[in-house]
Symmetry: D2
Subunit: 421 residues, 4 copies
């Protein structure tokens, strides 16, 4: 590990909590260089919804590479890109009546977000974008300006602007009606809020602490945007591709965003890929006005196509995720119920779940105890107050139960409960 | 192709000049879906310095995937990442006495640039970054602010700030001494230039038109930065990894930048990967202060390691590139000499070469004629006035000659020469 | 008047509602060029708290000018400036235990605001300043960025930044606890609000519609600022100098702002003058770091000194203003009570009073009707929904009653009341 | 003076060099509280072109005040404002064929500059404004962003943007053709300079060190602006109102700026007043889109009208200024010629003159020596390297000679000349 301490920047992060050397990975397990398995409830921060090295996708990927098919083609036409686009249209867009154009903005989620913000501003001719408390959208300057985390914002080195932060659903504990503040600002020409180009929102804030927006809130937000001529951007980078059950996390609410960002699990295999989707009439880009070297990474199109064909041609996968999600939610609720003194409670939708603690440090201690027991579990939220479960959607029920057993034990071991009087 | 026109955003670009469907690729050739070969003097905009599907790298990549080695690991430790770091240290850094820390800022060049800018601003506590006329550094807001192209800047939708543009080497045709303007501004406390955090520069501006900075100019810039306590960032995304001969394009000038960005050919196989390198003392990042989903894409580390081992353990590859570059340069100069009326002239270093025309539209016509003849050739420069040659460094001499023959023919066919009187 | 339409910019405004040529002015009356008197309930937008051409001040001013005393002295020492400073210290600061340093930032309120914002940012090293819905602080870029009015913001021509807007007292009709939103943002490191340098607030928003902050709200804001290390700036440009009774409008709440801005009535005679006051420890200015040509306009110091000596050496003036204010408030309330169908209601403190209407256009119609009847009355609020009373504090009770009679008549004439069913 | 040290902010500046208490002032002399006269070659930084308490203007001013004419009327119509506008049209605009609209933007120069910048951005829909090295335009955020001085810029506390700095005439000592850099940036779509809304320039930079733009340079700048559709703003706040001879300093060059700012001497008596003038077609302001409390300060209109009537109805005043300017210039040149070792040289036009020294500290020492000898003389330039002469234009020739004698003596006393070898 000396190689890392000697050569890698101090910015490295996950390796500090999991100080082992990962080597192999299959399905819901990763293995370190000694062969020790770890059950993975982290799934590449949501990039591995179909598990590590999913065999259906792997076959296609290796065939593609073995045949010397083209790997890197920028935005030239390629067979693999055509197949992906066609499949995405047939399997994802058409059945949902989404008349979206597809942009390949670069390989990473932040590229999708930056393209979305640029397009929204260009289309509307306005600058301000509304983001929400504890939103997370990426580390490049445009994306960082709509991200809430103060430590990450501080890294910018310049003031971040052209944005306004608004309360996410239930942010103020139900003490105010939904959108009272935002609506007041929009209605009042003296409010100081310049008319926004767009709103950018996650339906479930993953990095922000598994904060779930209710269907009603999302519908209200969508209606408000429509009323005021503001574009609605759903950042579905972490919660899309089935994480909450349906392909898009916003489907349940019955809304149609103007712009949608996808990345993480869209390639299905951990290969860098991102998409920005938008309503046809928003496609006011000039050719080449936004570009990027890795926007045509064909192996990702190949595995992405395979993932769509394998999991999204019918409803089965979605239903399984919802069922698994309910099971995980119930089990977490039962665990939480035993720790009222630690302020334990649960959050989540589908297979994006959180076990939150009011007690300082509890979630981090639980994650550390879980790691010792062979379970990868991340924390999230502004104070790392939530143990975050993002298992691969393909995780078997027994493996989910096994992971939950470890969590149960870890909470027992890690959370200090005051003695009853 | 209807799939594309129906579903893909109008932002698509390269496919407009090369309206065929690429399918396979080997070495310096790509093949469309009818099997027609194209000699590739574009190389993924410099991302394929070792050719398409390089067999040395391919073997390692397929082995890695077949064995279910871990693909996606963020910034956790992995065997593949360790091997890459170790090899990079041994093969690249140590022999050049570069005491750099390595940051994995995300998969794309813009991530490397954004991280470089953030770090420079954080380290110095200043905001202004100096960039150069016709510089190109990426499409995310931070990177776009140091990019010169007005069409691309216009896509931002917000004013781009915290930067100042300065003349690149020879920008004003030798009518002013080097750095007269920049030095005047720095010396004069009333100049209106806020003290800069950093300068960001390409040694050869690829997108900007194959504009070559001389060794003397680069040394002067480095000295000026040192004199005024300004960090020097060399963006070596397109010109690094051997494009100009040596691994880093700045080696020839004998300078040591404070920060260096790499991407494009660093994985060697067209796999998305990027690095930000900086002097050890600049490593003031907090853990996790800059992050990103695809910053631990192991297949890219595997091919990157293989590329370093294959090409960079001795001087042979560098020397071959220089020799090929001289050959290409000479041949282009001979072609250019025949078209003084079209203002033809050549530019370049190593295997980054340009055939520039004063005559409007000539370079685009040449590229179109070359495509008809089976050669992929991009144009660059603010008015697309340069036919740009970025062949894979592994291109054989006969293939280079073949491509140059096509260029010769294409110029003959495309450039209108006034009749001699 | 052709001179104006021919030569003056379309930006002119008040003259559109009062299309007469003013010529003379005494006390609470102005006279047009035909000698017609107008009772002035506008008082130079609060700049003439002691009436037009107040004789006590006039004597001193004319003596000063007749004697060829120095008029313009920048920030050199002058006898008039010394006398003002000394008197201000004795009459205003010392009795209120305010250990403030005094800056002369330029002749206008916006200079005082700009200096306050610059100092707060310099002192704290932070950029964000919190302003409030419907706040008004001036038209220069720094002041405009903390001003709410969208039409005026739109005039900037560049995005306005480094600010965040928060709800003023009672903005959301009591549906949320005070400061719930602001406190939530400050407490939450993931909120997206960068730690503010300062808060800038008016205790009564004059331009914003005579919105009164309660004592409790102001105390809460002050406490919140102290808790989080944020500077509290009270912009007392319109409400200071006795407009609400006491010299400073914040005295009643028992708070001590870190920074206070004064202008408008500080010279007492309509002469341009402004002050920025701040706690001694905040005085981190470098000599000359903020300057301005008209920051040493001695005639304004002379009348300012005279005003302090005449009105502020005891409590009488304050008490009279409060009594007059109560009288005006009661009378307005009685008027409002007759127009529930027009949503009439009253607002205000001291002699800053508003008669607000829910019925669209009512306030403007009232002001127009009042003008016809010889009363100058401005409207304010984002939709001009408030008839705004800012009579000179020296207005006699009979004149106040006369004005209120005109208002009564004007409402009767102008406000359309639906027939009772 | 304890009053000042105790109560006034450390930002105070001029009083540090002239630690006496000024009291009276007549013509070209000011008197301290002991009655000691000082010959004033500073003239309120150019605000007192007609001398202190000019008797022609004084009579009108006192009459106006004695008669209880209206002092403060915002932008309502007033007789005094009409008279000013009418006179300004007849005496200034019409004879020069300037079809300008007049805006009263507030009492200070920075108000005029802020209004000019806002209007230029609004009219063009662009953000960037080009300013020049060592330009000075004011301390409010918009004006400060086009000001060069780094100490003053540092006071902003936020990054200053939407601007680009360009070399003033002769900035790089004749080593480059005029406008080579600016023209290159404008011509090149890849330059990184966003298309500017406007250029703001002083014809002679007063604060910047009495740097004179040649007629040719100004004409070139005007032509360049016209060629590229960029608005030309001449900031004539310090150099207008006859300082260089003609009423506007740009007349000599035969150019017609799109926008002109005036302040300082426009009232003629040191009363705060400012104007923004612009071509009729630029008058796209909405009523009230820019406003300000002291934009209708009638006493300033009265003295301003009197000044125009007294000095500008014929050519005499202009010619006298030019003659005096030549005399002062010749005499300074003779002084400078004696101190080649101190790098002494002269600068200036009309009665804006500078005696510059390469030797560090020399100019400040000269100013200090002059003060001891009863002459007020400011220094300017980024390093205070210029003793700056801005005598009232009404200063008699004997008084000019007296001042120059003092300067001669002061140089002799203060400038250390190395012994001849």
């Amino acid at each position: 590990m000396e190689t890392f301490t000697q050569l890698e920047s101090e910015v490295r992060s996950y390796c500090r909590n999991w100080p082992v050397m990962f080597n192999e990975a299959r399905g819901s397990y990763v293995y370190d260089d000694s062969g020790r398995p770890y059950l993975d409830f982290f799934a590449g921060a949501g990039s591995l919804n179909y598990g590590h090295n999913n065999p259906e996708l792997k076959t296609k990927l290796i065939d593609y590479l073995v045949n010397d098919s083209i790997v890197h083609s920028l935005d030239a036409f390629s067979v693999a890109k055509r197949d992906f686009l066609k499949t995405f249209g047939e399997v994802v867009l058409a059945p949902r009546n989404l008349d979206y154009k597809v942009q390949f903005p670069g390989p990473a989620g932040n590229n999708a977000v930056e393209a979305a913000l640029k397009l929204a501003r260009k289309y509307t001719g306005r600058e301000t974008v509304i983001s929400f408390t504890n939103g997370f959208h990426g580390m490049t300057l445009g994306a960082l300006a709509v991200t809430g985390n103060s430590m990450k914002r501080g890294g910018a080195g310049v003031p971040l602007g052209h944005t306004a932060t608004m309360p996410f659903d239930n942010y103020m504990d139900g003490q105010t009606p939904d959108f009272l503040w935002l609506r007041s600002l929009l209605e009042d020409s003296g409010s100081g809020l310049d008319k926004p180009a767009a709103v950018i929102v996650e339906t479930v804030q993953g990095e922000g602490g598994i904060n779930v927006a209710s269907k009603g809130w999302l519908r209200g937000l969508s209606a408000l945007c429509e009323e005021y001529g503001i574009l609605l951007i759903v950042d579905d980078i972490q919660m899309g591709c089935g994480r909450t059950g349906p392909f898009f996390s916003f489907e349940e609410a019955g809304i149609t965003p103007d712009i949608v960002t996808l990345s993480k699990s869209i390639s299905g295999y951990g290969l860098p890929m991102a998409l920005t989707l938008f309503k046809r009439e928003l496609d006011v880009w000039e050719p080449g006005e936004h570009n990027g070297t890795f926007r045509g990474f064909n192996p990702a199109f190949v595995t992405g196509t395979a993932a769509l064909n394998t999991y999204w041609r019918d409803e089965v996968f979605c239903k399984e995720t919802l069922a698994k999600g309910d099971m995980v939610g119930d089990r977490l609720a039962a665990i939480a119920a035993e720790y009222p003194e630690a302020g334990a409670h649960t959050r989540g939708r589908g297979l994006a779940r959180g076990l939150a603690f009011a007690q300082e440090g509890a979630a981090k201690a639980v994650a550390a105890a879980a790691f010792e027991r062979g379970l990868l579990l991340e924390t999230s939220g502004p104070e790392d107050e939530v143990a975050k479960l993002l298992p691969a959607l393909t995780t078997s029920v027994p493996d989910l139960e096994k992971g939950l057993d470890i969590i149960d034990e870890s909470v027992r071991a890690a959370v200090k409960v005051p003695l009853a009087v």
